[in-house]
Subunit: 139 residues, 6 copies
Amino acid sequence: MSAIVYLTRKAEFSASHLYHNPQFSAEENKRVFGKCNNPNGHGHNYVLEVTVKGQIDATTGFVVDLKQLKDLMHQEVLDALDHRFLNKEIPEFFSLIPTTENLALVCWQRLAPKLAAARLHRVRIYETPDLFADFYGEV
Amino acid sequence: MSAIVYLTRKAEFSASHLYHNPQFSAEENKRVFGKCNNPNGHGHNYVLEVTVKGQIDATTGFVVDLKQLKDLMHQEVLDALDHRFLNKEIPEFFSLIPTTENLALVCWQRLAPKLAAARLHRVRIYETPDLFADFYGEV
Amino acid sequence: MSAIVYLTRKAEFSASHLYHNPQFSAEENKRVFGKCNNPNGHGHNYVLEVTVKGQIDATTGFVVDLKQLKDLMHQEVLDALDHRFLNKEIPEFFSLIPTTENLALVCWQRLAPKLAAARLHRVRIYETPDLFADFYGEV
Amino acid sequence: MSAIVYLTRKAEFSASHLYHNPQFSAEENKRVFGKCNNPNGHGHNYVLEVTVKGQIDATTGFVVDLKQLKDLMHQEVLDALDHRFLNKEIPEFFSLIPTTENLALVCWQRLAPKLAAARLHRVRIYETPDLFADFYGEV
Amino acid sequence: MSAIVYLTRKAEFSASHLYHNPQFSAEENKRVFGKCNNPNGHGHNYVLEVTVKGQIDATTGFVVDLKQLKDLMHQEVLDALDHRFLNKEIPEFFSLIPTTENLALVCWQRLAPKLAAARLHRVRIYETPDLFADFYGEV
Amino acid sequence: MSAIVYLTRKAEFSASHLYHNPQFSAEENKRVFGKCNNPNGHGHNYVLEVTVKGQIDATTGFVVDLKQLKDLMHQEVLDALDHRFLNKEIPEFFSLIPTTENLALVCWQRLAPKLAAARLHRVRIYETPDLFADFYGEV
């Protein structure tokens, strides 16, 4: 019987985005989204935190292979989103508004199916140091 | 069926306080509270973290309107507590010792009734970068 | 004879940008600027640090009126650049590549003429927590 | 009926370690642990976060006496581990690989039996600012 | 001929203060100092950074004995100012407004005469993470 | 005539070290170096900050090619020192005590000869978030 530990790894990426709902009028978009509705977009240094949950493997002392976790975060999220305009270049955001909430959800959807032994526990996205969203896979 | 996300917003305020229980003797106050018993008070740059929990609204991508959350934090907590001596100027602390624990509780009591669609999940107060208290509404 | 102190104030803004020199070929732009050449832009949470140098005023204890400095930073830099695509919306960057270096220079040019009693000493711009540029007005 | 609050205190210690499983071949150790298998060790500024859970004491406003918690963290963890080579000097790590996961577990085992009124809720260990492990006592 | 290095050590203290000039009218004090004029005071987690400059000692590799520097910072500044109301309890501030600028100056005056081989180069005081003052001994 | 800007890039590495002067007696080593004299070593997450000074290149907006600076920091410092026991594995420290001061000096000596157009201005090494050394090439 082995201890269950939650391991978290952080990484940063830089992207731009805008908030716009095509079903809203121009006034409605401006009222609801304010400065975030600027069609040229603006950007952030996002911080992605991925937490996996699992038993400590007695032969390695690891809950998850750190190298594999790092590679997975790069392949599924960082390489795709870094230095991109989310609304224009990331398929999920062609129809979904790239709020911090939806970014956490999309990162979860990209990472969860690829994690085996260790289970994805939480995805946290910081849009700024003072604003972040957590998703635990709850629907 | 929409994803449930926890959104957290941080803000800072500066206040002073002291720890003192009028039912304790002077010696007891000194022994229990140490330097924090100085009647002149001392102060901190407190950090308030407010976490709300809710379903992502499909039309906005938000769990909570960020502008409303920011305004609420200002009206209920920041405008009232910032640049104040908590024991002397904040009614809750006329009878309650303004520890980090009680500050988290008081911020919860001020914020929870005002949040509608999104539910208050956690209030965190940092007294210093190395000391913080979390309250989830548990009694 | 009064002490000379350097006072620094920080503030954050979010913007997007891209690096592109119209006199370079497409290949040259890609080679020199890499991912930063993406025409859609990408973004950052920039941190602006403004340092003013002056004698401590004996009647106020200030080198500079903090409220005036804050207002100046907002009027000249933050309100103009926050939530903007620098290349497309900020006149200085119609012809200047918005590198961290040039951003520091532009912020200096916007702030220096407006500071009276206290002299602008340094402008620092953080593009990410790991990359920043300092300009002291040297040419 | 009193509010239940989670109080967290942070502290830092500096130690060195290496990852090595004597049952693995040299090649296996190198493949699994990479640079962390260097027999001379390497080191980190670890950050220990201890979270205790309890009811707010009405006479003090505390969930736990902060001085006692600080002393306990020093006696049981910091004084023992600070400026040490974990594999060679800390008994638990003579047979256990000192990964971040196992460090969180060992700190829990050292602290939990010593906490009385307030219950240990979580031990978090940061190996670097971008990697941390949480243990809640789950097996 | 030995290399000249600048060594900096940080420490934190918590204090309260208010801004008030007895030669100003009540209205003038309110206009100039705003919320900082609250007679009850308010507080901050101040961060003190002390930088000493000197040649590296070939036998120790030190510019300054770190233990002595730490002790000096405690004796001259931290033990005196921590958990105090600066205006009421620190003699220098009976007649001097405890702005960030003046705090840097007072810390310099307390530390400079006590440093021997290594020369005091700079005192920095952070009032908040976004506001700090540097004093280099210039008058 | 172009503006002169100081560009700084940060990176982290993890290493272990000990302080010991073979010309000191065991008692002297213990008295001067305290816990840092542990022969097994202990470790830190060091932060290296490299500042280069130069004119902004009009065609790129750069003071220095960021990719080249990053590669140089890796080749000359990070790849060599990361996950190493400095005293045993880094030639400069076979005879030099690896204090923060000497680390800053050694990093300067490794980097300065490799920088061409832009001149090395400062090397800063953080041993912990509260202790750092700056070297500007002064002897």
